[in-house]
Every structure is written in C-alpha cells, then in structure tokens.
C-alpha cells in the first residue's frame, strides 16, 4: 500500500470525523432518509433492539428490530468502550475504521492474481472511489448496518482472491447472516475458491459443508441469544416476505401497497425469484471471471432486492472500479451517470413533497425509483456487455472485432 493510498485513508477518516463533529445531527437527518437506510439496516432500530436485549426482552417481539442478532452482540461489546449513541466517539471511530478496512480490501483485490493480467487503477484511486463516494459517505454517516455487511462481503472476496478460502467462507457466511441476499454470491464464490485446485465434487462439497456449518453456527448464536428461532421470521422472513411495507429505493413497495391479499404470496415469490434466476446463468457465462460474475450479481440484487439503499450502488460502483479494462467498451456511461444523478437528486425532493408537504403522492417517489432502476439497469447491462465483448475479442487475438450491423 503506497503512501498515496494511506493518505486517502487518512483523508476519508478526517472527512467523516469532521462531518460528524461539525454537523452532529447529520446522522439523524440521513438516518431518516429512506434512500439511505431502511428498516432492515436502520441504526435507530438497532439501538431499540439493543435496549430491549439489554433489559431482557426479546428484541424481535413487536416488529421493530429486523437485523441479525450478531449486531446486538457487536454493539453491546462496543458499548464497553463508550456510548453507543450514533454520534459518540466509539461509533464514529468504528464506522470510519470499517470503511477504511473495506477500502483496504478493495485495494487488495485489485492487486490479486484474479486481476493480475488486467490494467488496474491505482490503489489510491480505487480507495478514493469507495471512500469519497457520496453514497458510501452518506450510508456511513447514517450509521446504516449495511456498512458492516458490505465490509464482510468485500472481505470475503479479498480473502478468496488470495486463496485464503476458509476465511473467505467465514466472511461470506457472516455477510449472508447479516444480509440474506449475499447467499446469491455462493456459486461465483465457489468458482473463486476452486480456481486454484479445480472445481471437483469433493472441493465443492467441502466448501458447501463448511459454509452451511458456519451459517448454522451464526444462526445458533442468534438462537442462544434470543432463546428461540423466532428471530429468523423477524429477520430473514421480513426481508424475504417483505413484511415491513415502507417506501424505499426499490420496486417492491409500490406493488404491495395496493395489492389484493390473494396475489401477495405470488408476487412475493416472483419478485424473489427474479433476483435468484440470474445467479446460475451469470456464473456459467462468466466462469472465466468470477469476480465479474460477483459484481454483476451484486448489481442485480441492488435493483431487485426488497429493501435496497443507495449505499448498495456505492459498493457496486466500487467493485466496478476494479475492472478498468472494460471502461473503454462501456457505451452509455454518461447516460447512466446522468440518469442516476437525476434520480438521486430528485428522490429526496419527491419524498419530501409526498410525505411532509403533502403536495405530491406516492407516484412521484416511485417514478424516481423507476428512473433509478433504469439507470442501474443501463450500468449493469453495459458493463456486462463490455465484459463479454472483452472476453470475445480476447487479449491473445486482438484481431477479433465486433462490428455493428
């Protein structure tokens, strides 16, 4: 890690700490924005759950807390070093440190064997793209627990790229425990884990068993903490069955607002199936570049999950920054950037118009989420097309060209 990269780390830490110091209520303001946090990642609900847990009441009674029980353990541990208030020094330092770790992992991935043969951006650029991304900064300051899930996921990728597969499995299990949609990354991760030894039945089975064992271990932690498996319904059940109907940057909530109860199960399953159905085909198609497969699946789940946030887009863009070699073949970068920019600017305005001023309605906000999704779709399809084009053209035989007919 060169000095520039460390400087970026320090600068981002100073930035975030300064923002927290100069604008003490910024975390509260951002925490109330549905674009930045959802009920599945809200720090406010985490605090409520932590309080209930500390006084001996199950945090999953009452439908307030929907996050993994391991967060309760973590923040209870952090509480020993100081207050767990959102703007307390302990939490400030913890979240800044988490983001820096995530950036460190990204830099490590860029230098791994998986991307060794490709042109890469400089470490400090990759770190900057993540650490100074306004979406990531906003997510960090809002104290969304998605920061921790994303860190675990990227950590898992990093360890897999360096053949530290056991650690990678552990981090992936941890990421899946905190964000169920990370399970979708298991097939491309299998390719990563078996890239050195080859994908034999024995190796696949080994990693599968270990992953299941790790996940079961984390689930049992929750069982011992709460005394029952009821929390699975409150956490994974809420995510999968969309129990908490609240507006967010996703596509689900508008459908379910007006839906007849008879069709609700069908739509829930169809929507979940829609994000699942791409996992295997993308894994097969991009088997030569599992990292790209992981990135694509992250992008698809960003738009198709039940409770998306803008921080997911920040992570996706940061992962895309690892693939500098596809940038020349990306055709609609400006269009996608403008669409995303417009939607991110208008979304909070339209939400404010709808909820606080009462002069708009849900259609305003949902239209912007549709625009946001279109922008994301353009990015995903364009980058995937660029990657497939690179693969087709090949680096060994650059005489192959694709002609538009």
């Amino acid at each position: 890690m060169d000095s520039k990269t460390w400087a970026v780390f320090v600068a981002s830490a100073v930035l975030k700490l300064s923002l927290n110091f100069l604008f003490p209520s910024l975390h509260s303001i951002l925490g109330q924005h549905v674009e930045v946090t959802t009920s599945m990642t809200s720090f406010k609900q985490l605090k409520e759950g932590l309080h209930l847990y500390e006084i001996g009441i199950s945090p999953y009674d009452g439908g307030v807390y929907h996050q993994a029980p391991i967060f309760l353990l973590l923040f209870k541990f952090l509480g020993k070093f100081g207050s767990t208030a959102p703007n307390s020094p302990t939490i400030n330092v913890f979240y800044v440190f988490t983001d820096i770790i995530t950036a460190y992992f990204l830099c490590a991935i860029s230098k791994s064997q998986s991307l060794a043969k490709t042109n890469q951006l400089a470490d400090w650029v990759i770190a900057s793209i993540y650490l100074f991304n306004p979406l990531v900064v906003a997510t960090n300051i809002s104290r969304s627990t998605a920061v921790l899930s994303n860190a675990a996921m990227i950590g898992s990728i990093a360890y897999a790229c360096y053949n530290r597969n056991i650690l990678s499995v552990m981090f992936l299990a941890l990421a899946s425990h905190t964000n169920i949609y990370t399970v979708y990354l298991f097939p491309p991760f299998l390719l990563l884990w078996t890239s050195a030894t080859g994908a034999t039945m024995a190796s696949v089975t080994k990693y599968l068993i270990f992953y299941i064992a790790m996940s079961a271990g984390l689930t049992s932690i929750g069982y011992f903490m709460t005394g029952s498996l009821q929390y699975l319904s409150a956490t994974y059940g809420s995510l999968l069955f969309f129990k908490d109907l609240a507006p967010n940057m996703g596509l689900w909530w508008y459908f379910f607002m007006e839906m007849f109860d008879f069709f609700r199960p069908l739509f829930t399953y169809i929507f979940q199936l829609y994000s699942l159905i791409y996992v295997l085909p993308i894994t097969f198609r991009l088997h030569n570049c599992p990292l790209m497969a992981i990135t694509c699946i992250v992008g698809i789940t960003t738009i198709s999950k039940s409770y998306p946030e803008v921080g997911d887009l920040g992570v996706y863009i940061s992962l895309l920054s690892l693939f500098k070699f596809i940038f020349p073949n990306v055709r609609y970068a400006l269009l996608a950037a403008l669409v995303i920019l417009h939607s991110l600017v208008l979304a909070p305005n339209f939400y404010h118009l709808w909820i606080y001023l009462g002069s708009g309605n849900a259609n305003f906000f949902y239209a912007i989420t549709l625009v946001y999704t279109i922008g994301m779709t353009i990015i995903i399809t364009d980058t995937l097309r660029a990657a497939l084009l690179i693969e087709f053209q090949g680096t060994e035989n650059p005489s192959k060209t694709v002609i538009q007919i």
């Binding site: 109860d261 008879f262 069709f263 069908l266 399953y269 169809i270 199936l273 829609y274 159905i277 097969f284």
Partner: protein, 516 residues
C-alpha cells in the same frame, strides 16, 4: 456470414439457458401453482338444508299446546269499520304466509264485543281515529295494541298490517303527547302507526342504550350551539343518571341486564329532496356548526326516520327536537327504534322536564312501577307476556340465521372460484351449534324460555351467520375468475418467457442439427 461458434461457447450457452429453465420449472411453476390455488373450505351445505327444512316443519314445536305460539287478539267493533273479523284474519294470515312465519306461530282474531262466555284474549286491538292519545294508565292499557288510524283510512289491509307490525315486524313508538309545536302532518304514504308496549319482552337479553339525538330544524345557530354546549351535555348526563336511579328503584334489574348511557350527542338532518343523511359529530366546533347552518338551503326540512342497528344493542333514542322558526316548515321527527323510541319535542329549554317525561316513558316501557288498581292502591307487577315475544323473537332470529346461511350456501355453490377461508367454516359451525341450542331451549320447559336463553342462542346464531356471509377474506376474493388470473400473470411472465423460449428454441435447433 456469421463466424461459427466454438463448441465450448455452444455448451456454455446451453448451460445458461437450461439453468434459467431449471429455476423457472422447478421453482417457479410449483410456486405459481401453490400461490394461485383457491382454497375452498367445505361448507356443510347439507346441514344448512336440514336446518331449513326443520324450520319449515315448525321446529318440532306444537302450536296448539304452546300458548306462546298461538296468540289471540280481541278486536273491538270500533276497529272494524264495517270490515268483518274474518276478512282481517285472512289478510293477516296472508301476510304471515308471505313472510314464512305462519309455520311457527299464529295470530287469531276474536270478536271482542261478541265474545260471550269465552275467555278474553290477552291482547285487544284498539283503534283510535284520533291524533291525540293519552298515555296508558294501567297495565291493561299498556298491553293493548293500539293502532292509530287516521280518519277514513280504515281498511282490512291497514288493520292487518298494524297487527302484523305489532307482533312480527319492527314497530314505531310514537308518542304524540309531548309533541308540542310539531306539525302533525305525516307523509301520506305512512298510513298507519302502530304502537305496542312490549314491556320487558327483550329486557333480559338486551342492553338499553340511550342516544340523545338533537333533531335540528332550521333554527337559529345560537340554539343549536347551545344544544351542543358542554353544559348541555353535562346536564344531560346528570339527568340520565337520575333516570337510571329511578328505574333501578323500580326494580328494573329484573328485566334489564344493564343500561348504558351513550352520551354521543349528534344530530341528523336531511335537506328536502336529498336522500343523504348528514351527521355532525359531538366535537363539532361552534364555528363549524355556524358555517354548516349558513350553507343550509332553507327549504322545508323533512326529517325522516332511521332504523337503529338491529344487532344486539337496542337503542332507545331520545330525540330532542328544536323546531324551526318558520311555521310553514313541514317537519316530522320520530325514530324507529328496534325496541322503542321516545320523542320529545318542543323548544322548551327545560331539560329536566324533558328528562322527566323521558323517564316516564322508560317506566312505561320497562316496568309499570306504579299503576292504579280498581281499588286505587298501587302495586307492582311483572309484565307477564314477555315469554311469548321471547319465543317469537327466538324463532325470528332462527329464521334470519337460516336465511343467511342459505344465502351463503347459494353463494358458495354458484361461485366455484370464490375462496372460502376456514374462518367461514368455523362461523357456520358455530351458527349451527347455537341454532341447535336455541331449538333445544324452545322445545324445553316454558320457564327456561322465560330466561331467554333460547333468544340469546338464536341471536348468536344469526350473528355468526351474518359474520360468515360477510367474512372479509371471502368478500375480498369473491370473484377471481380465470380471466383475471391470466391478466395478472401474463404481464409477469411475458417479458421473462420470450427470451427463455427463444433461448430454448435455439438450443433445440442446434441439437437437431448435430444429430444427423
């Protein structure tokens, strides 16, 4: 010409297409099938039909032996208007047959003036062709069925309808004694008002709820505001408590399970020519009321009646009428309560006087606390005839229950695509169970009926039946035809199925090319 693909690329494409199809076929189709299956819990249609037949056969009750099911009414000559008793009786039987109640009880008319040597019926039909009727002073007067017939309107239909309404239908209680300045013009279509004091017939099984309605004519806003003032409400409550204490002293506990005072104060008005009721709630502010009054069209206002909810709670509505200033206003304010109603009218601000009258009416309706005997001494007696009416009400409730259940069975049978949740089955089972309890009670000792247990079971059966028919989950999914399912599913599947089918087709075509 397109360059040929490598074998590896073709195999890869097959894997991709087939993996899409694998998720679609092994996950998507079973989920689609499972989530769109209409769940129909079987409803006991044959049991409902059995109950219907049982009711038509008279529930195994013997009319001749059971005095509660055979009611004789004496008719005085002054009610006949030249019509024979036979004609009135035939008309009455026609009405009973039309409503399907003749199988369970009967009303017979006896010529009261020419009944020599026969035992006088308990009930006497008394016709008064007068607009002013004094309050009954004796029990016997209270037990009389008094039919008000306007002049020159006597007919067999009117008298028979009056009798029918008195025993079977809802009735009006209209006391004109305290109308004060109310215009006595009535709608010409309302040919008859019949009154019957049912005393404590339903008293054991009901709550009494007093609702103060302020019927508002086009009077000044000040008075209306005053009527809604907190002081007025407080005074109302104070006097309502006094009434209650009076009634308790009158041993009402023997008849009435409880009395609740509904202190909702509101008023209803309807502008002429409109069919819409407007109701202003208790917490209306004086400013809002003023603006409401200002926007009223000062046409003649007609206040029509509204039936109170015919569910468990019987509402005795006390209407305090504020007459309009204009003498040309045609106004008619009275309530049609299930059980009885009291109308107070007049623009007198003397609420205590109004409440005293109200209390007297309650006394008359519930318990003749004091009445004059022939020897002039006062005594208290329980009105003895509630048993008959309790049995009749039980049978009416059972009829209502079976009609509702039959409607449910017709609905379920005719709409095969309608979901029937398990809650509906539970409610039907509960209704049938209560039905059987009510019938057992009816067939049992007379005294048990007097406890109105049968009435409670029958009312519960009717209530469960209503809840079953209007089950929310069933109503929401009443009509989910196949075409609607296609309309919902196709937009979901269409965009996905096209590339899937195209990809599969290409795989199949490539496989066939290889085969030769």
């Amino acid at each position: 010409m397109l360059p040929s693909e490598s074998t590896e690329a073709i195999v890869l494409r097959r894997k991709v297409v087939l993996s899409f199809w694998a998720v679609f076929v092994f996950l998507g189709l079973p989920l689609w099938f499972h989530t769109t299956t209409i769940h129909r819990t079987p409803v006991p249609l044959s049991a409902i039909e059995t109950l219907d037949n049982e009711l038509k056969d008279g529930l195994g009750l013997s009319r001749d032996d059971d005095p509660g099911l055979h009611i004789a009414v004496g008719v005085k000559k002054n009610c006949l208007y030249g019509i024979t008793t036979r004609e009135i009786s035939d008309e009455l039987q026609r009405l009973l047959r039309t409503e399907g109640t003749s199988s369970v009880f009967s009303l017979d008319l006896v010529d009261a003036d020419e009944c020599s040597g026969c035992s006088m019926p308990k009930y006497t039909l008394n016709c008064i062709a007068s607009d002013r009727t004094p309050l009954p002073k004796t029990i016997s007067e209270a037990l009389e069925i008094t039919v008000y017939i306007p002049s020159n309107h006597g007919s067999k239909e009117i008298i028979a309808n009056g009798l029918y309404d008195a025993f079977v239908g809802d009735f009006l209680f209209f006391n004109k004694h305290d109308l004060g300045s109310i215009d006595r013009a009535m709608s010409p279509t309302t040919g008859i008002l019949s009154t019957m004091y049912r005393g404590a017939t339903y008293a054991d099984a009901i709550h009494l709820s007093f609702t103060l309605l302020i019927a508002l004519g086009s009077s000044g806003g000040e008075r209306a505001i005053e009527a809604l003032s907190p002081e007025f409400q407080t005074e109302w409550r104070v006097h309502a408590e006094k009434v209650w204490n009076t009634l308790k002293f009158g041993e009402l506990n023997r008849y009435v399970s409880s009395i609740t005072f509904d202190t909702d104060v509101g008023f209803q008005y309807m502008t002429d020519g409109s069919d819409e009721w407007a109701r202003v709630e208790q917490d209306v502010s004086p400013d809002k009321l003023s603006s409401l009054l200002d926007t009223w069209d000062l046409q003649p206002i007609t206040l029509l009646t509204t039936s109170s909810n015919s569910s468990a709670v019987k509402v005795l509505q006390f209407v305090y009428f504020l007459p309009p200033y204009s003498t040309n206003t045609k106004s008619l304010s009275f309530t049609v309560a299930n059980w009885g109603g009291v109308v107070m009218a007049g623009d007198s601000p003397d609420l205590p006087a109004a409440m005293r009258t109200f209390g007297r009416q309650i006394d008359k309706l519930l318990s003749p606390v004091s009445f004059s005997l022939a020897n002039g001494s006062k005594s208290r007696k329980i009105l003895p005839h509630r048993h008959e009416f309790a049995r009749i009400a039980t049978i009416m409730n059972l009829r209502g229950a079976i009609e509702t259940l039959s409607a449910l069975s017709r609905l379920v049978t005719s709409l095969q695509e309608m979901a029937v949740p398990s809650t509906v089955r539970d409610l039907v089972d509960s209704a049938i169970k209560e039905w059987h309890s009510a019938v057992v009670n009816l067939r049992s000792d007379f005294d048990q009926v007097a406890e109105n247990q049968g009435l409670r079971h029958a009312a519960a059966a009717a209530q469960f039946a209503r809840q079953a028919v209007f089950d929310k989950d069933m109503m929401l999914n009443m009509f989910v035809p196949f075409e609607h399912k296609i309309a919902v599913y196709l937009p979901l599947l269409g965009p996905v199925i096209v590339p899937l089918v195209a990809g599969l087709r290409r795989v199949v075509v490539e496989s066939r090319k290889k085969e030769p």
